[in-house]
């Protein structure tokens, strides 16, 4: 972490001073978060550096509550004069809102999670020199471009982030931790101009030593790109759809959006009112866990200052818990789950638990089906659970890949997808905070000709 110059107040001092000032201005309760980040990013393309960014930045966020009325403020200008003005304005603005019986800070938790035990910070990242970082990106792209089938490159990127976060609440809670991220990836094209296919692969970790090696990333990016060459369009039909882990990841992201307490009280999810009910078959167990050491989504405390925890969201098909910040939990009469993020609810490590079949076995056991490898467009509606997205995939026949397919859509409904998952793979990896293994859905509509 780059140290701030000598005389400046520490982030914690700044947070405490601002909380005290907001209270002095008339706030019943106040919360201040301060973030200090350092970013490095290099993009290389065709063997040359394209862009190099190095920068540090700070920002502060403030929440005040007065007479059960809430106001927020934030600033990237940490001048104390600016921050005080924002605090004064916030208290004044709070008076213009309406009282909300559920507004208020969470009481400070008795339990604390030890940040060090979560292994969120890698000191090696701060020690990497620019040459090494640039070299990793160059090496990754070069390894990919050695493959003759690759006809163009989007370039390779290596990036690191070092972040220190401080949270101070007027209820006495003070929390502080450091975390790091690093990422390495490459994007490629294959085929001639009018018949291009593209894909990419990247690895993102908190610890440098856990990052996939350049040749591994290149190999995966090449493989993922060239397997799409020479696609066919297929006729419209209902078939089994196999989701690769990268695709299960967005499916889980969609499910997350449907199980937040915020979406539930807003009735913006088809899973509102389904707590305790069966929403999928018994193969489905979904967990949100902020306490897995070293993983991308782990954190010692959330934006309400509540400790991270492991929450079983769906257990063998039964919806066991919504994910809540303190506000949504109070509103719904539930317990907060340590998922407060900004003013809303965010995932920590949110994943579908692995099953007992190897991905290869799932494919081998499919007589006819569509292996989904990439999607294009958004097409997810949490109010209804409806899914409709542009899709790229591989056509499966008699348990093996027959040919690539493009320019089709897949559609269905998350509720029916969760009921229809007939196989769950063993290949769960935390490539991203929201993730899952290979799954096979009994039937979805693949629309083509």
């Amino acid at each position: 972490m780059k140290k701030a110059a000598g005389k400046e107040p520490s982030l914690r001092d700044l947070g405490e001073a601002l909380v005290a000032y907001a209270r002095k201005c008339g706030a019943d309760e106040a919360e201040v978060s301060v973030v200090d980040g350092y970013e490095f990013n290099v993009d290389v393309r065709k063997g040359r550096i394209e862009t190099l960014i190095e920068a540090g930045s700070r920002s502060a966020g403030l929440r005040v509550i007065k007479d059960k009325r809430t106001a927020y403020a934030s600033s990237s200008d940490l001048d104390l004069g600016t921050l005080r003005r924002l605090a004064r304005n916030a208290v004044r603005r709070a008076e213009l809102g309406n009282p909300d019986e559920f507004a208020g800070l969470a009481p400070a938790a008795k339990e604390r999670v030890e940040a060090a035990a979560l292994r969120l910070f890698d000191p090696e990242i701060a020690r990497l020199d620019s040459k090494r970082k640039i070299g990793l990106a160059l090496e990754t792209e070069m390894a990919a471009l050695r493959d003759r089938r690759i006809t163009n490159s989007y370039g390779a990127t290596f990036a690191t982030n070092e972040i220190r976060s401080v949270l101070v609440l007027s209820n006495g809670f003070v929390g502080e931790y450091e975390q790091t991220y690093c990422g390495l990836g490459v994007g490629l094209q294959a085929g001639d101009t009018d018949h291009r296919v593209e894909d990419s692969w990247s690895s993102s970790k908190r610890h440098f030593k856990d990052l996939e090696r350049p040749e591994e990333i290149a190999r995966k990016a090449v493989e993922r790109t060239v397997r799409q060459l020479g696609p066919r369009k297929i006729r419209t039909q209902n078939v089994p759809v196999i989701f690769e882990p990268t695709q299960t990841a967005w499916l889980m992201g969609f499910l997350f959006g449907c199980v937040t307490g915020t979406a539930v009280y807003q009735k913006a999810t088809f899973l509102a009112g389904k707590l305790g009910q069966r929403i999928g078959n018994e193969r489905i167990t979904v967990v949100d866990d902020s306490l897995i050491p070293g993983e991308l989504g782990s954190h010692p405390f959330d934006a309400d200052g509540l400790p991270g925890q492991r929450t079983v969201v769906v257990e063998r098909g039964v919806l066991k818990s919504y994910l809540c910040n303190y506000y949504a939990a109070r509103k719904l009469g539930l317990r907060p789950t340590g998922n407060a993020d900004g003013g809303g609810v965010g995932p920590s490590n949110f994943y579908l638990e692995k099953g007992d079949l190897a991905a290869e076995a799932i494919i081998a056991g499919t007589k006819k089906g569509f292996l989904l490898i990439r999607t294009l467009g958004h097409g997810l509606n949490s109010v209804t659970g409806d899914i409709s997205r542009g899709a790229f995939g591989l056509w499966i026949e008699d348990g093996a890949v027959a040919y690539p397919v493009s320019e089709v859509t897949i559609s269905g409904n998350l509720g029916r997808v969760l009921e229809g998952i007939e196989a769950v793979g063993t290949d769960l990896e935390f490539l991203s905070p929201v993730t899952g293994p290979t799954v096979k859905v009994a039937e979805m509509t693949v629309a083509g000709e």
């Binding site: 862009t51 190099l52 920068a55 930045s57 600033s75 809102g97 467009g377 629309a447």
Partner: protein
Amino acid sequence: MNRNPLPYVDHFGLSPADLRAVLEAALSSGGEFAEVFCEHRSYDFINMEEDIIKETAEAVSLGLGVRVIRGDRTGFGYTNDLALDKVRKTALTAAAIARGRAVAPAVPSLRPRALRRSVYRAASPASAAGLGRKIGLVREAYAAARAYDPRIVKVKVHASDSLTTVCVANSEGLLARDVRPMVKLVCSAISEKDGKRESGYWGGGGRVGLEYFRDVLTPRRIGEEAAREALTLLGAADAPAGEMPIVLAPGHSGVLIHEAVGHLLEADFNRKRTSIFWNKMGKRVGSPLVTIYDDPTIPAFRGSYAIDDEGTPPRKTLLIEKGVVRGLLQDKLSARLMRGAELNGHGRRQDYSHWPIPRMANTFIAAGRDAPEDIVRSVNKGFYVASLSGGQVEDSGKFTFSVSLGFLIEDGKLGRPVKQATLIGTNIDILKRIDRVGGDLEFGLQTGTCSKDGQDVPVTDGCPTLRISAMTVGGTS
């Protein structure tokens, strides 16, 4: 306007001489071009849900980014500490990309450039209005949606406004300033019947003041339209699946042009030869009925600006003329590297912590001659796209857009409403299949945002009623 309600106020404390010194530091390691982009943004937000003004927020963003170019390499640094020594340090970080002895000529002295006619229409700037007045607008939209029908069970209204002050200086002697207003009021409504729920969305705004919500689009209409969409969807059937003729409603459907054409004519994708269009300048790629422009100078529009984020005054840019590729959306880096390319003011960035890249502003397909009713009547069995919620494209030309509300066309008439579906196609196929273009050019909601390389910028799209002879619809029935 005689009186400019949005005068330039310096938030940066850096004199032209300071900026020049920073630019010289940025060029000290052999850079050929250097630029400083200073930005101050104040932002207000109001959220109403559950029948109460639940929260308000205010944000201040202040910082600057320094960019140094040598050949095709860019060094970039940013800081939100504007003390001169910190700014110089940021310049030296960006300068390190070049690594060598200074080669650029001395930076000329910087003189502010006079802005031409303003594209902003904020007679009553939201940034200067009291919170109470803005809360009044939010309540009006909320009440209208809530009262529209008893089946409307939840309503959410967001209002936001910002005032962004930018100052761009570069090593060619440019010093340009701009003060940009922005307002947005959106409503989402959820309807419920027999345990089934649907949602509707509507909104408006742009580079305007609060008078817009009296003269152009009232909060009441925003609330009612959101409610109406949510109710229509309650009675909607599942969308059809497979290839069929498509008719696009005017306005919203501009998303199709944004995805299918706009992105792939951004200069960076063509310079790098990743776009399917890179070798098609001057060539026919679509039906002769198709003419497409991007125009950042349309007054009051969300995508408009007086200068782009590199200080270039923008101009209306012809992209496709009667089906033939005629132009690219340029920024400085691509124009430098594509020797002889002219700047057209499309270098934009999300904020000071990002560098500029070629972007769209207000993209539209020009009006044709057909009567919209005739276009619908010409389709025996097909799909009418009434409103869209977004789209995506990749460089191969494959693109999608998501329909939030559609109608079946049966025997030349609009039939049952149908629910959301994604449509997919390849741009050079679809552009050839546009076989009817209406005379009714309209623009979509003034609420849109476009994402590219992790940067979000405000945009609008427009189009007249269009017919596409066949396209794949991703429904389930």
